[in-house]
Symmetry: C2
Subunit: 337 residues, 2 copies
C-alpha cells in the first residue's frame, strides 16, 4: 500500500470561485466535515494566499486572522495549512501572525522561475519549527530541468516537500510525467502535484504524478477552485482506492461531506469555453472571473482576451493587463472613419 499525503485547498483555491467571499459559517462547516472525513490538511485563505486580499486581486470578506482562527478552533487531527506568496505576505506581519494563530503547514510559493524570493519565508517557518513545503506555480512555463533547479533551491532553503502547480490547467499526462520524474530524481524530499481541470485532465494528471513518484496530491471537494476547478477530491480518493493507494481519508464520509458542503456553499465549477481556452493557452485559471467581468464591460469575447493573455505569457499579479487587452480588442473592432 503506497501512502500519499492529501492536502485540500477547497477553502483557499475555492475562494477564487466565489471572489474570496467565504463566510464564518461556511468555514466552520467545512472544517468540521474535513475533520470527520479524515482529510490530513486543509488550506485556508484568500485565493492568492496569505496577505493577498487587495483591490487588485479582490478583497476577502474575512481577514486572514478571522479565517485562520475560525478553522483553528475546530481542527484537531486535520492540520491547518496556508498558501504564502512572498510579496503578498510579509514575514513580520502576515506570516508571524499566522504562525502565532497556530498554522501547522506552510506552503511558500513563487512563480516557477523565481524560487529565490521564497528563501527568507521558508527559513522563518523552519526556525519556528513548522512544516514547510515549497510551491512552484505556473509550472508548465519552465522546462523540467529549470523546474528541478528551482526546486533544489527551495530544498536548500529548508523546504520539506516541493509541489508543482498546474495553475493554468495546461498539462497533459506526458508533460506531468516528465516533470515529476525529473523532480523526484533531483530531490531528497517528497514531491507533489496540484492539478486544474481546464483540459479535463485533473484526475488523470494527478494519477500520472503518483505513478511518476509524487507522494503529495492536492484536491478540492467537487473540484471547487479557480477557473475549471481542481482535481475533484472525492473522485481522486475513489480512483486512488481502486489503484491501491492509502490516504487515511474515509471515502464514504468524504462523499457525504461533499454533498453537505455542496448544499451549503460549493459552487460546482464546470469546464466552460473560456476555461478550455485558458488551459490551451496556459493562462492562470484565477484570471477567469476578472476576465469575464471585464469582457462583459467592454463587450469583447472572454476567449479572445485569454488568447491574447496567452501570447503575452502573463502570470498572477498582472491582472491589470486584462483591462489593457480588453480595451485594445474593443478598439480594434471600431470602424475606421
Amino acid at each position: 500500500m503506497k501512502r500519499v499525503l492529501i492536502s485540500d485547498p477547497t477553502l483557499r483555491d475555492g475562494s477564487h470561485a466565489i471572489q474570496h467571499q467565504l463566510n464564518t459559517q461556511q468555514l466552520t462547516l467545512y472544517a468540521e466535515l474535513a475533520e470527520e472525513a479524515g482529510i490530513p490538511i486543509i488550506e485556508v485563505g484568500h485565493g492568492n494566499g496569505l496577505g493577498a486580499s487587495s483591490l487588485q486581486l479582490g478583497e476577502s470578506s474575512l481577514s486572514d486572522t478571522q479565517m485562520l482562527e475560525t478553522c483553528r478552533n475546530i481542527l484537531n487531527k486535520t492540520r491547518l495549512g496556508i498558501h504564502v506568496i512572498p510579496g503578498f505576505a510579509t514575514i513580520n506581519k502576515d506570516l508571524k501572525n499566522a504562525l502565532d494563530i497556530g498554522v501547522d503547514v506552510i506552503r511558500v510559493a513563487s512563480h516557477c522561475t523565481e524560487a529565490d524570493i521564497t528563501k527568507r519565508h521558508i527559513e522563518y517557518c523552519r526556525n519556528r519549527e513548522r512544516e514547510v513545503h515549497g510551491v512552484l506555480m505556473m509550472s508548465h512555463m519552465a522546462p523540467p530541468s529549470e523546474l528541478a533547479a528551482e526546486a533544489c533551491k527551495m530544498q536548500g532553503y529548508g523546504a520539506q516537500g516541493i509541489i508543482i502547480m498546474d495553475s493554468a490547467g495546461a498539462y497533459l499526462p506526458d508533460t506531468v510525467k516528465s516533470r515529476i520524474s525529473v523532480l523526484v530524481a533531483a530531490l531528497d524530499i517528497p514531491v507533489g502535484f496540484h492539478a486544474h481541470n481546464n483540459l479535463g485532465m485533473a484526475i488523470a494528471n494527478s494519477m500520472t504524478a503518483l505513478e511518476a513518484g509524487a507522494t503529495i496530491l492536492d484536491g478540492t471537494m467537487r473540484g471547487f477552485g479557480a477557473g475549471a476547478g481542481n482535481a475533484q477530491l472525492e473522485i481522486l480518493i475513489a480512483v486512488m482506492e481502486k489503484m491501491g493507494y492509502e490516504t487515511g481519508i474515509d471515502l464514504f464520509k468524504l462523499l457525504d461531506a461533499a454533498d453537505t458542503a455542496e448544499d451549503s456553499f460549493l459552487k460546482v465549477p464546470y469546464v466552460n469555453s473560456t476555461s478550455i481556452v485558458s488551459g490551451l493557452t496556459g493562462v492562470f485559471s484565477g484570471f477567469a472571473k476578472p476576465v469575464d467581468r471585464i469582457a462583459k464591460k467592454y463587450n469583447v469575447d472572454p476567449k479572445d482576451i485569454f488568447y491574447e493573455l496567452g501570447k503575452r505569457k502573463v502570470v498572477a499579479g498582472q491582472e491589470d493587463i486584462i483591462l489593457e487587452v480588453a480595451v485594445s480588442l474593443s478598439q480594434s473592432r471600431q470602424p475606421m472613419i
Copy 2:
C-alpha cells in the same frame, strides 16, 4: 496528421440528463450549431435509442419520427445517426421508418456479451446501403478476449466499425488500453470508444483509446449525457488539436456553439457523489435519474442503492430492480419489534 471520426450523441445520450424531454426548438438549434461547427455525425433520439420510449425507461416528449425529421430537415454536411438496441427497436417498424426518414449512420448496440442479437438489424441496414457500426455496451463487464470475440461477430454480420461503451464510467486508462489494443488487433474495421466521466477520466480514457489505435470517438457538448456525462466534446477537440489529431471540426465555432447550446438547454452535468459510486461499482450511468427519484421516495441513500446494484451486476433494461433494492434497503432499516 491522424484522422479521427467524431460522433456526437448530445441529442441522444443527453436525453438521459433531462429525462428524454428534448423539444423541437432545442433539436433545431443544436442541429444548426453542429452543422456550422462541422461535427461529422450527430446521434439523435431517446437516451436508450430508437423505439426505447416507454414507461419502464421513460417516455420521450417527441416521437422518434418527430426528432429525426426535425434534424433531417436541417442537416447537410453533418450526418444523422441513431442508436439502435434490438429488443427496443424492431426492424419492420422502427428501423425501417428511421431509414425511410433518411438516417445516415446506424449504430446497432447490445450488451457486451450479446452481439448475437444485432445480426438481423445490422444486415438490414447493410442491405439498404447505410453505414452501420456495432456497439458493445457496458464493455467493462467482459474481459478483452471475450469483447474481441463479440466484436468479431458484429464484423461478420457486416458492421463497418465497432464502438465499445464505458456505460458506467468505470474504466481507467490501463483498462481502456488493453481492450482497445486487443480489438484493433482482432478486427479489420475501425474501432471506437464512448466515454463517461464518473471517475473523471472521460478525456484521458478517450485519448488513451486513440493512442491504442482507436479512430472513432464519441463526445457531447459540455459533456451532456447520462450520469456524470460523456467526454466533453469541446475539451476533446482542444486536446486532440494539441496532440496533432485531425477531426474536421472548427474548435472556435464549437466553443461558441457550446456556449449557445448551454444557454438554450444544456444542463451541465457534474460528477456528484452518486455518479462516483456508479463509476466505482460499474453500474450504468443512465440509472442515475431513476435511482435519485426512487431513493427520495423510499428515504434511502442513492449511493447505497448503487452499491447494491453493483453487487447484482444489473444492466440497462433492469430498472425494476432499483425499486426492489430501495424497498429492501428501506425495510432493513426498520426497527425490530
